[in-house]
Subunit: 198 residues, 2 copies
Amino acid sequence: MELLEQRIREDGHVVGTDILKVDNFLNHQLDTYLFEEMGKEFARLFKNKKVDKILTIEASGIAIASVVARSFNYCPVVFAKKTESLNLSSEIYSSEVYSFTKQKSYKIMVSKKFINENDNILIIDDFLANGKAAKGLIDLIYQAGATLAGIGIAVEKGFQDGGKMLRDKGIQLESLAIVEKMNEKDNTIVFRPRSMNE
Amino acid sequence: MELLEQRIREDGHVVGTDILKVDNFLNHQLDTYLFEEMGKEFARLFKNKKVDKILTIEASGIAIASVVARSFNYCPVVFAKKTESLNLSSEIYSSEVYSFTKQKSYKIMVSKKFINENDNILIIDDFLANGKAAKGLIDLIYQAGATLAGIGIAVEKGFQDGGKMLRDKGIQLESLAIVEKMNEKDNTIVFRPRSMNE
């Protein structure tokens, strides 16, 4: 998606070999106008699929998913939680996810009330790298007997293996920007040509 | 706000003396159409104020704030984080918040890049009870030398003291539904008459 790639070029900062900081529009400060445009693009890319629920994960996925829902007829958005709370009922599906940025494993949880076998679920998240979070969310969907419609990602790190792993399973994965290479020294970011994914 | 009160009456569950579960539309499963309507109402209530940034807090505040931004000309949304991350720069404002639902204190953090003395900030959150989270967010705003335009809350627990504490400081606090009394036995929820706040 040209608008997103352009924004990453302007505002993204490469840190080390692995981290692409996009915290001024995607995951700390949020540009919700951009998210609406992303929603329109996801709706176009997934127009072949039935989508009646969106599943995402705390915390930055929530912002994108909540705005994107507008382009899917305001379907319900459910977010998987990472922390126990008095507010979370005991009837949950749960899975384990390892986070490289936080350098630890954590549990993700979703109430059994909110995903079930009638749901056609689109997973939305801000980043895809090794695919651990996506795998955890897919696990929750399968536990519930729901249908995975596809996965919509803002920024995929194409040099990590999550995207290949998911596409090899036959899952419709649509990433609006795929970073092929990035270099901290001169802050260059090279995107995978979009025609290769359309 | 009639639409929100009606929804709470239909879908809210009183648990014990303190907890109002609204997890099927407000803070686990999300009704983003309702959030858009709430955004229009906040825009009406704060039309006397200059608002050029929205500040909220992980996790459930993010959903509402991201959708509400649409009614404030898609102004940037910034969310305070609760956990350290490699993605969070070392230049932060921080404050301490005690959570009764999670029964512990936690640190909230926001990058110094994203709030500054030129900002007119509207705080948006899902719940107001004792006002600890709001106080923490106000502290971040004052540390940055920014201006607090007001506070917009979805559900205020009027039987706790956060609302009074904030209004007594002269802060424009607008809660779209104020629960005056609630009773677990028959799940009755009594709202403060709206005319008293308009």
